[in-house]
């Protein structure tokens, strides 16, 4: 019993004295002390019970067990260290996964009463498409027809050039309708947000971070700033933390969103451009709102037959977020894996514990014979396991916390942390651990001893544990191998162009000076010429959108019936200058590229996939005419065919591309691509490029200037690759655990049968024979385990892998896992078998 030794001393003395007094009185009464003692029973037992009663029976014995546990673990540091490390790694893994899961799925949005905030989501062919914008006309419609919703607000993403002294700054922003802030329920830290009558005024609400970064936190409300060459009055500043990058409302500033008449009248020339957020009216339910929106959406679709399969529905903000994030399957898979690994770790430690229980069988048998209750022995072993699990949990939480920090730093969209919910999940995992690790040896200890002092028979529980462990290990190996291979393969896919050593940046030609297409065109010419002249630039080009952009449109062929693109991947359309293909080194397969002479000629270049789809061999696309399926587009003659171009790592560009001269399709958003001459790094071009732009027009900001490869990687690969590394680490852990588990079972078997082996050896069995015998015992268990594990893993990979990677190959993963595990089994079972078979038979017989 820890603590208060002086008090214990006094209480003990008093107890002693009290019982002594009783005994004396009894002796007097019965006339003899011996008779009294015999009648009264053992004083030690009574003392023990009194002590227990004094502390409260439960806590008393727990404390005693803890003390005993600490002593026992200190006596076998090897076991303690193995157990704590094993469980610590497993719990670390599971707490990191829980934290990620919590951040992605459970954490409520950081707004008041978040459960009442709803988002409109597009539906395409019965599937939610939260990233698909909505028509402005539909928004206006929903606002009047959905009675269950209030503060329905539209928003869209944009960016502006903020003039600030020297070079302009690129600021990401949102255009919002007046109710936006009301829907989210957040009041400004200073000033006010938009009222309905503000919508026609040039007013802006700043985020806390932009206010601090650009204006040094100076009083800004009422002051004017220059956005895209126009004056805006600052009316409010939002509190810090309102614009969290984790939520879809990330922005540096907000300006009023207004709609043109054309947009509101649902004209086809306007595009889907907005997202919609709102709040449930008090008393209204999500189901009501959903049925209202869906009913209206059905009417709308019925009125526009060409919108077949499109619709809208309502989600809570939380659901919208998890739907938007396509990683849900991956998350579930990680949770499954982490639980599998924890179970393997538990099985391992339970296996070790069973070995110890067997070694302690004598001690337990004696204690039971002396009258210790079975529940008491079970509790003692469980207390020991709790002690181990507690230490492991401390280690695990530390490891988990470190892991989360590494992941947060590597994955853009991740902001995981340890909070109450995560702790609850981890505590649940620890409880499971205690039970899994503690119960088997506890039950074995408490089982009716076969015969005290004997080494006991073969332990069925232990066999089962090791088989289960290898099965779980095999299952997770299959899952991990399958997924890692598909992630790695995905990123090994060729992009179709060479992003190495390319600098990419964006500019936005906005403001009164660039309203006229001629003005945009004039600027683009000057920009192209200035870039050519930059020292250190080998080639340069402009594109709209650039290599990272996505703008898909239906295409028609002259002289053919209109092609329906419903449900098929439409080609991406790029307006480019003649240098663009050269900078990105997009291969030209047939015909020619664009030239400066094409500036006013209606020509186009298509990529291989478009060529294949529209002009199947043997027809040649060259000289044919195509037209973008938007009003006012001319027929364009195809002059060349290129390879397909991917937009992000893992995209093989199968959508196909159409390139047309940028000069004919002026656009506000322009991408710059530069390839430096040998010896110059792309990053070194950023500063000269910025100076060039400031010289041409100081109101324009150079945005997102980064080496292209860096951006591509940070977009998806960094996150996925981190997950791949994480998976590989988990896989290594699982393999290690299997090896340790199998090793320990064979080693234990060798110890248990030491005497038998000695006899066999004395009777003439050779060392290799014994070795084979022991090895066979381990291998048999492994075969069962690996067999059932492969089946489990194969099923798991079908469930998770199919969603993550449609052409995941479960068989390949199974075979790889089988080979890997077989190697581990051979080594882990053979090593201890060899050692045991070489033991001196006389020593073995003499032992014990």
């Amino acid at each position: 019993m820890p603590g208060w030794p002086w008090r214990r001393g006094r209480a003990e003395r008093e107890l002693e004295e009290e019982l002594q007094f009783h005994l004396e009185q009894a002796s007097e009464r019965y006339g003899s002390r011996r008779k009294a003692e015999a009648l009264l029973g053992g004083a030690e037992t009574i003392k023990e019970e009194c002590r227990a009663e004094r502390r409260g029976a439960w806590w008393g014995s727990v404390a005693r067990d803890l003390g005993l546990g600490v002593r026992l673990l200190r006596r076998s540091p090897g076991f303690a260290l193995t157990a704590v490390l094993t469980l610590g790694l497993c719990l670390g893994c599971i707490s990191a996964v829980f934290a990620i899961f919590d951040a992605a799925m459970l954490r409520p949005p950081p707004f008041p009463n978040p459960g009442r905030i709803v988002m409109l989501s597009s539906v395409l062919d019965g599937k939610l498409a939260p990233d698909n914008p909505i028509w402005a006309a539909d928004f206006a419609d929903f606002r009047t027809s959905a009675a269950a919703l209030q503060w329905l607000a539209a928003y869209s993403y944009g960016s502006s050039n903020l003039a600030s002294g020297g070079a302009a700054t690129h600021v990401s922003g949102m255009d919002v309708t007046a109710d936006f802030f009301r829907a989210l329920g957040v009041a400004p830290a200073r000033g006010r947000t938009f009222a309905a009558e503000d919508m026609d005024r040039r007013q802006v609400v700043l985020s806390h971070s932009l206010w601090q970064k650009q204006f040094g936190g100076a009083p800004m409300v009422g002051r004017r700033i220059l956005l895209d060459g126009m004056e805006y009055t600052v009316i409010g500043i939002m509190p810090a933390g309102f614009s969290h990058s984790f939520w879809p409302f990330h922005s540096q500033m907000w300006i009023p969103l207004t709609f043109t008449r054309a947009q509101l009248q649902h004209e086809r020339s306007s595009s889907r451009s907005i997202f919609v957020v709102g709040r449930l009216r008090p008393g209204a339910t999500l189901a009501e709102a959903r049925s209202q929106i869906e009913a209206r959406s059905r009417q709308e679709t019925a009125a526009h037959p060409d919108e077949k399969g499109m619709g809208e529905t309502v989600l809570t903000l939380q659901n919208y977020f998890t739907e938007r994030d396509s990683n849900t399957t991956a998350l579930w898979m990680f949770v499954t894996l982490a639980i599998l690994i924890l179970l393997v770790g538990c099985a391992n430690v339970a296996g070790l514990g069973l070995g110890r229980a067997a070694a302690r069988a004598d001690e337990m048998a004696i204690r039971r014979a002396l009258g210790a209750a079975r529940s008491r022995l079970v509790r003692q072993v469980l207390t020991e396991s709790t002690l181990l699990a507690g230490l492991a949990a401390a280690l695990g939480l530390t490891l988990g916390w470190l892991g989360i920090r590494v992941l947060n730093a590597n994955v853009d969209t991740l902001d995981a942390g340890v909070n109450g919910r995560v702790l609850v999940m981890v505590v649940a995992a620890v409880v499971v651990t205690v039970l899994c690790v503690g119960l088997p040896p506890a039950l074995q200890s408490a089982a009716r001893p076969r015969s005290a002092g004997s080494t006991g028979g073969r332990s069925r529980g232990r066999d089962l544990v090791v088989t289960a462990e290898i099965a779980l290990g095999a299952a997770s190996m299959v899952l991990i191998l399958g997924l890692v291979v598909s992630i790695r393969r995905n990123y090994a896919k060729p992009l179709g162009y060479n992003p190495d050593d390319v600098l990419a940046a964006n500019i936005a030609l906005r403001g009164p000076a660039y309203v006229a297409p001629e003005a945009q065109l004039a600027f683009l010419h000057r920009m192209a010429a200035a870039m050519e002249a930059l020292p250190g630039v080998a080639s340069s080009g402009l594109g709209s959108p650039g290599p990272l952009g996505w703008n898909e449109t239906a295409v028609q062929v002259r002289g053919r019936a209109p092609i329906s693109w419903q449900g098929k991947p439409m080609p991406k359309i790029f307006g480019i200058t003649d240098g663009y293909l050269k900078v990105l080194q997009i291969p030209l397969l047939a015909g020619r590229g664009l030239t400066a002479g094409d500036a006013s000629a209606p020509v186009a270049i298509i990529s291989r996939s478009v060529a294949r789809r529209l002009f199947p061999a043997p027809a040649s696309p060259l000289g044919q005419f195509i037209r973008m399926d938007t009003p006012g587009e001319p027929w364009r003659r195809i002059v060349g065919v290129t390879g397909d171009v991917g937009t992000y790592l893992g995209d093989d560009g199968s959508h196909g591309d159409v390139f047309e001269p940028l000069a004919q399709t002026p656009h506000a958003g322009i991408s710059i691509v530069l390839r430096p001459s040998a010896g110059t790094s792309p990053a070194a071009l950023i500063s000269p490029l910025r100076q060039t732009l400031a010289r041409l027009d100081p109101t324009l900001a150079l945005a997102d200037a980064n080496p292209l490869l860096t951006t591509l990687r940070s977009q998806g690969e960094a996150g996925d690759m981190t997950f791949a590394h994480l998976l590989e680490m988990i896989g290594a852990l699982a393999l290690l655990l299997c090896a340790v588990g199998l090793y320990s079972v064979v080693a234990y078997e060798a110890v248990r049968r030491k005497r038998e082996l000695g006899v066999r050896q004395a009777l003439g069995a050779t060392s290799p024979q014994l070795q084979r015998m022991l090895f066979a015992a381990g291998a048999r268990l492994s075969l069962w385990g690996i067999g059932s594990g492969l089946v489990l893993g194969w099923i798991g990979l079908r469930v998770f892998g199919a969603a993550a990677d449609p052409d995941a190959r479960p068989w390949a993963a199974c075979i790889a896992a089988l080979l890997l595990l077989a190697a581990v089994v051979v080594v882990a079972a053979w090593l201890p078998a060899r050692r045991a078979s070489r033991a001196d038979p006389l020593a073995a017989l003499r032992a014990d």
Binding site: E17, F21, G41, E49, E53, A57
Partner: protein, 115 residues
């Protein structure tokens, strides 16, 4: 007297007996045993092995408090007395005990009549 002649105490009754015994004034452990034995006409005997754990338990629960005093033979002995909580427990316990035994008695008597 042989061991077998003593009645086994049903679960929980020992505490009730101790409370009742101490109602008349503080006693030490030995005196409690003696008193119960005497009053029950030697039918009940409390074993030391149950008495002292029970006393310590009741003390922890605040039903009793213990003080050191001098015994009849002028030896130092530990005297137990009821606390207010102990008295309340005695009242409630005695009442429910009486109701229980009366009810059990009724059922047994009727069963005897019918049999």
């Amino acid at each position: 007297m042989d061991e077998e002649d003593f009645l086994d105490l049903p679960q929980g009754t020992l505490e009730l007996l101790i409370l009742r015994t101490l109602e008349l004034g503080p006693r030490h452990g030995w005196a409690i045993t003696e008193r119960i034995q005497q009053v029950s006409s030697e039918a009940l005997r409390v074993k030391q092995g149950s008495l002292y754990p029970a006393l310590h338990r009741m003390q922890r629960r605040g039903l009793l408090k213990a003080t050191w005093g001098a015994s009849e033979s002028n030896r130092r002995a530990r005297y137990y007395e009821l606390t207010r909580q102990g008295r309340a427990r005695l009242r409630a316990g005695a009442e429910s005990w009486r109701r229980l035994t009366a009810a059990v008695g009724k059922v047994l008597d009727q069963a005897a009549e019918e049999g």
